[in-house]
C-alpha cells in the first residue's frame, strides 16, 4: 500500500561509528539507537559531526569503523542506491532538467514501477505535500517552500524504510520555516516513517522531535526527549546550546550544595563534593520580596543592571555579588509591570528548589 502508516518503519541501530578525515576525528565511537517510527534530531553546532553521521547513514561517506543496522540488517557496506533510504538535502538537490512530476517519479522509475502506478503514486505524493496540480511545473518556477515540498515528496514516494533530512528548512525564511516545521511533524505523524533530522537550530529541534541527540565534537553529549533535555541538561554544553542559561558557580560539601554562604534547597540529589555550576533558565528566575530563603525558594541577592521591555515580556540583567551577570525574563502581566525594577536597584532573585539543576564545571 502506498504511503502507509507505521508497518514499514524500521529501527536503526548505530554502533561504534568512527570517522576520521585525514587524521582528524570527526566521529568517535558513536552509538545511537533510533526506534521504529521515531523522529530523532541530531542537534549540534557546525563541525560537531551531525552531517557526517547523516552522510554515513545515507552511504555517501564511508566510515572507518562501525555498524549500522536497519531492522537488524547490516547496511554499513551497502552502496547508497541499494539502501532504500529517502533523503531531503539542504539545497533540495532537485533535478533541474526534469519537471516536478519527473523529479518525484525518478525513484519509481529506478524501481521499474509501471507508468500507470507511477502516475498514481506521484499524484498522491503531490497531494500529500499540498502541491496538487503542479506536476508539469519546471523546478525553477517554484518558490523555496514549494521546492522543499517537492524534495520531500520525492524522498517519501517510494516508501523508504527511513527518511533522512539535512537541515531541510535552513534556506526558508522564518515564518515559512515555522510553518513547515509543523507540517513536517504532522506528515511524520501520518506516515510514521523513522526519521533522522539534522539541524543546528535548537528551537526547530525542540518543536519537531520525539528525541534530540545533542552532538559536540564528534560525540553525543546527551540524548533525551526535548522537555527532559531542556529541564535537566546533563552537561554545560547541552545547557548552553539548548535555550538560554545562567551559570552560577556552587560548591558541594557534606552532601549539600552551597552558593557562597547560603545552603541551596533542591529536590534533585546533590553530588558529594566539588565545584559545580547551577543552571538556571531566565524564565525560572523571579523577583521576590524576602531577602531570606523560605519554603522551597532559594534567594540570591543581586543588583539590577538594565531592564529591557520587549512587549510581551521583559528582560532584566542583574549582577550578583560576585560580579557575575544573570538574565531574568518574565511576562508583562500587569502586576509585574507595576513593579518593574529600575537600574541600580537591589533585588532578590528567587529560584524554586525544583528548578535547581547542577552540571559539572569544566
Amino acid at each position: 500500500m502506498l504511503l502507509s502508516i507505521a508497518p514499514t518503519a524500521l529501527p536503526i541501530g548505530i554502533s561504534g561509528i568512527e570517522k576520521r578525515f585525514g587524521g582528524v576525528s570527526v566521529l568517535r565511537d558513536l552509538s545511537l539507537d533510533v526506534a521504529a517510527g521515531e523522529f530523532l534530531t541530531l542537534l549540534g553546532p557546525s563541525g560537531s559531526g551531525k552531517t557526517t553521521l547523516l552522510m554515513i547513514l545515507a552511504g555517501f561517506v564511508r566510515a572507518n569503523a562501525g555498524s549500522i543496522k536497519v531492522g537488524g540488517e547490516e547496511i554499513i557496506a551497502t552502496p547508497p542506491h541499494r539502501r532504500n533510504i529517502g533523503m531531503v538535502f539542504q539545497n533540495y538537490a532537485l533535478f533541474p532538467h526534469m519537471n516536478v512530476f519527473h523529479n518525484i517519479a525518478f525513484p519509481l522509475k529506478q524501481r521499474r514501477v509501471s507508468a500507470a502506478e507511477t502516475a498514481e503514486r506521484v499524484e498522491r505524493a503531490l497531494d500529500l505535500v499540498q502541491l496538487k496540480g503542479l506536476g508539469e511545473r519546471r523546478v525553477d518556477q517554484l518558490s523555496g517552500g514549494q521546492r522543499q515540498r517537492v524534495a520531500l515528496a520525492r524522498a517519501i514516494v517510494f516508501e523508504p524504510r527511513i527518511v533522512l533530512m539535512d537541515e531541510p528548512l535552513s534556506a526558508l525564511d522564518k515564518s515559512l520555516r515555522e510553518h513547515m516545521q509543523i507540517e513536517l511533524r504532522n506528515l511524520h505523524r501520518r506516515l510514521g516513517m523513522t526519521t533522522v533530522y539534522v539541524t543546528h537550530d535548537q528551537r526547530e529541534a525542540i518543536t519537531m522531535s520525539d528525541r534530540i541527540a545533542v552532538m559536540n565534537a564528534g560525540r553525543i553529549e546527551q540524548i533525551d526527549r526535548p522537555e527532559v533535555l531542556y529541564a535537566s541538561p546533563k552537561t554545560r554544553f547541552v545547557a548552553g546550546f539548548i535555550g538560554d542559561s545562567n551559570f552560577i558557580p556552587v560548591e558541594c560539601r557534606n552532601g549539600s550544595v552551597w552558593y557562597e554562604d547560603r545552603k541551596l534547597r533542591m529536590t534533585s540529589v546533590a553530588p558529594a563534593v566539588g565545584c559545580h555550576l547551577m543552571v538556571v533558565r531566565p524564565e525560572k528566575l523571579r523577583l521576590v520580596a524576602d531577602a531570606e530563603s523560605a519554603g522551597t525558594i532559594n534567594v540570591i541577592p543581586a543588583t539590577v543592571g538594565d531592564v529591557i521591555y520587549q512587549g510581551d515580556s521583559f528582560v532584566c540583567y542583574a549582577t550578583l555579588r560576585d560580579g557575575r551577570q544573570v538574565t531574568l525574563r518574565d511576562y508583562c502581566r500587569s502586576d509585574v509591570l507595576a513593579r518593574l525594577p529600575r537600574p541600580g536597584e537591589p533585588v532578590n532573585l528567587g529560584i524554586d528548589a525544583d528548578d535547581v539543576v547542577l552540571v559539572a564545571a569544566d
Binding site: A58, G86, M87, Q90, N91
Partner: protein
Amino acid sequence: MSTQSASLYGAGSFTGTLNADTLSADARRESLGLLALLSPGLLLVFTVIIVPIGWLFWLSLFDESGALSAANYARFFQQASYIRTFITTFKVAFFVTGACVLLGYPQAYMLSQLPRRAASICLIFVILPFWTSVLVRTYAWLVILQRKGLVNSWLIDLGVISQPLPLANNLAGVVIGMTHIMLPFLVLPLYASMKTIDTDCLRAGMNLGASPAATFRQIFFPLSLPGLASGVVIVFVLCLGFFVTPALMGGGKVIMWAMRMEQTTSLYSNWGAGAALGVVLLGVTLALLGLFQWLLGARATGVWSSR
C-alpha cells in the same frame, strides 16, 4: 487623519510638480553622460566590426569589371567546385567536431571528477598546446603522419601493416591535425559546465535508487549537455573558417572554404568573389548560432526534459 490622507493620495488626483523640471533635466544629463562614457567602445565596435563587414558586403556586390551584379553569389549555384568546397568544409567541420566530442567528453569528465589540485595540473596539459603555434603543431603532425613518418615506419617495423597508411595529405590528415588544435575549445567550456553540476544532485540520484551508471546517464549527462553544446558550436564554427591546418595537411586535395577565399583573392585577385565567400560563411555561422540559441531556448522551456 484618514480623510486627510484620502484627499492627498485618493483617486489619482495627486500629480506633483515639485522640482519636476530639475529632476527630468538631471535624468537627461545623466543619460548623455553615460552615452559619452560608452562612446570609445561604440567607436571601436563601429570601426573594427561594423565598417569592415559592411565593406565586405559592399565588395561582394561588384563583379570583376566593377559593375554592380549578383554574379558573385550566382557562382555558388553554377560552379560545381564551389559546392564541392562547401560540402568539404562541412564534412571536415563535422568530423573534427565529432572527434573532439569523443575525445573531449571523457577528458572533461575526468578533469571535473579529479581533486582540485590534480585537476589544475591536468588543465595545464589541456591549455599547453594553446601556447604553441598552430603552424608548428601542424608541421609536427605532418612529420608524424606522412608516408615515411613516425606512425607509418613504426607500424611497418612492427609488422602490423606492409604498405604505409595514407594519413597525411588527405581528409584523415586534416581531421587529425585540426582535432588536436580544436580539442581545448571543446574541453574548456565543457569542463566549466561540468564543474557547476551540483554533487548533491548526483547523490540524490543514487539515494533514490539509481546505480552510478544510471545516475550518470539520467542526471550527469543531461546536465552537461548545455556545456557540450557550447563547446560543439565553438569548435564547429572555428572549423568552418579554418585555414592553416587544412592547407598544409590536405596536400591540396582538401579544399576548404577559407582556402578558396585565399585562392580567389591572391591568385585571381577577384575581391568581389572572395568577399561573397566571406559573406556566405558569416551568414551560415550566424544561422548556426541562431539554431543553437533556439535549441537552448527550447531546452529551457522543457522540450528536452519531457522524456
